[in-house]
């Protein structure tokens, strides 16, 4: 239970084509993350799967059955919205119970399920409160609770963590991952944050302007980005790109080197440069270095590195970790 297949799906608003023909398969039990910059059509794609938008053409299959024209509730999917979309006039208990009441379930059964979900999500003490009396993280959990009581075929999340502060985001990321381990239900998760994608996904779908740029596991995308866009989008800090003479030496139009594959030294190295800003995080140090030819590169050095603004340094790259790209932006083998 819980496989989703999109076949030649397109979506236009008026005469603006947001999703050109798109094919995608999501396997049972997978945690799939749609990632891409803002406005690239991630939410639209998710809403098409949910049935909140009609496809302009193409078909959507859920568990092998054509679900294209079926209304949202019948698709057996549950969605967690970015704004949480809790019902403000209902208590937490009634919020979580709402889908079960709509399904006409017996009161005792509803109670049992709500208590079960509340326990999993640490909401037992808050069942009587209204959403307005909860913190952001608690609201998020209520929204998830409302989704899990339905025991859906798949969960759809639309940027669920973007309204939380950084510390809470890390927590909730773990909680959602743990939930996936426990439930083993298919999850489709939308985010513009590549860190969320890398940390949570079994499979990442990178989108740009409605087009799938690459599909793969986090490490596949990290090791073998198909093009410049994926290369610059996946990984943090961003990959460094060099053109011109350096690229030509590698028979490429552009070469890319990740900050963590560069090493820095005061004495010797491939390129000479000057340290601009140095960010000391303790565990890592990020150095923004201007090379002799004027290009800027970011270098990650492990641990505490005693370098600061204006220092002269030499930089070398691990030669087997240089990515090469052609003039069309595609990766060269």
């Amino acid at each position: 239970m819980g496989s989703i297949k999109l076949e030649n799906v397109t979506k236009s608003f008026g005469d603006v084509a947001v999703i050109p023909p798109l094919n995608l398969e999501i396997n049972e039990g997978e945690f799939v993350v749609f990632v891409g910059p803002s406005g690239c059509g991630k939410s639209t794609l998710l809403r098409l799967i949910a049935g909140l938008e009609d496809v302009s053409s193409g078909n959507i299959y859920i568990d092998g059955a054509d679900a294209t024209g079926i209304r949202p509730a019948r698709r057996g999917l549950a969605m967690v919205f970015q704004s949480y979309a809790l019902y403000p006039h209902m208590s937490v208990r009634n919020n979580i119970a709402f889908p079960l009441k709509m399904a006409g379930m017996a009161a005792a059964e509803i109670d049992r399920k709500v208590m079960g979900a509340a326990e999993v999500l640490n909401l037992t003490d808050y069942l009587k409160r209204r959403p307005g009396q909860l913190s952001g993280g608690q609201r998020q959990r209520v929204a998830i609770g409302r989704a899990i009581v339905r025991e859906p075929k798949a969960f759809l999340f639309d940027e669920p963590l973007s309204n939380l502060d950084a510390a809470l985001r890390v927590n909730m990321r773990l909680e959602i991952s743990e939930l996936h381990q426990k439930l083993k239900t298919t999850m489709v998760y939308v985010t513009h944050d590549q860190i969320e994608a890398m940390t949570m996904a079994d499979k990442i779908v990178v989108l740009r302007k409605g087009v799938i740029e690459q599909v793969g596991t986090p490490l596949e995308l990290y090791r073998n980005p198909a093009n410049l866009f994926v290369a610059s989008f996946i990984g943090s800090p961003k990959m460094n790109f060099l053109k011109g003479k350096e690229a030509a030496r590698h028979d490429a139009h552009t070469i890319g080197i990740r900050p963590e594959h560069l090493s820095i030294s005061r004495q010797e190295g491939l390129w000479k440069g000057t340290v601009g800003v140095a960010e000391h995080l303790g565990s890592d140090t990020f150095l923004y270095v201007t090379l002799a030819d004027g290009s800027q590169v970011t270098v990650r050095a492990a641990g505490e590195v005693e370098l600061s603004h204006g220092d002269s340094v030499y930089i070398s790259a691990e030669t087997d970790r240089i990515y090469r790209f052609g003039p069309d932006g595609l990766a060269l083998k």
Partner: protein, 290 residues
Amino acid sequence: MATDHSRIAARLMISPAVLLLLGWMVVPLSMTIYFSFLSYNLLSPGTEEWIGLVNYEFFLTDPAFFAALGNTLLLVGGVLLITIVGGVGLALLLDQPMWGQGIVRILMIAPFFVMPTVSALVWKNMFMNPVNGLFAHLAKFLGVAPFDFLAHAPLFSVVIIVAWQWLPFSTLILLTAMQSLDQEQLEAAKMDGAKKFRRFFHIVLPHLSRAITVVILIQTIFLLSIFAEILVTTNGGPGYASTNITYLVYAQSLLQFDVGGGSAGGIIAVILANIVAVFLMRMIGKNLEA
């Protein structure tokens, strides 16, 4: 208003307005109270004398008072019912995307800008007139006897006229409230398996409760003192069939020239309005809390 200094300055600055409003209220109120204890008839000037509570006794034991009290409540209740139910319905319709939305909305508000006397006369002469009215023509076209609304259902007719005037107000407030509903809540309800009707009752209506409360409170204040519509259509009749408290006070003081009795009626009307206000706040006031 953080500091003592700014608090004092603020009080000083609003005090002229407060004093003016207070005078505006206190002077007529105390004069009315004073008159209500006098035997004061305009037909026999110079014979005013203190008669204590006789005016009140007279007004409260008058059968017309109970008729008027009932009519006032029916009028307020009837108009509220029509404007709230109709307003929610119209707001739902106007909230749908459609061609010419802007113009339709402006047309919707139009009745609110027509003076009460004018709209009541239009209804009386062009719609409800048993000979020339539109309804009479319609009845004749359908082959039934025309109905003389103002003679046979006077209070109902007044309710219809007043409701027509106030419908735009409630529609507008409810429409604004409806547009502030987070669409994602409706979508969440859709995914949760709630169909149209249940989405309306579980999501839309609770969201509107505060706006409905505001409409009820504001309208009640104005509806308790409906006067012009009655004056130009039924004159409170036949008998007392469409007389409300406001109209009864008018009849007492200006048709029977009994200023004392009218004043007593006025004070009673003020007390009744306060009772209604307390009841309303008890019943629906909690909707206004955050």
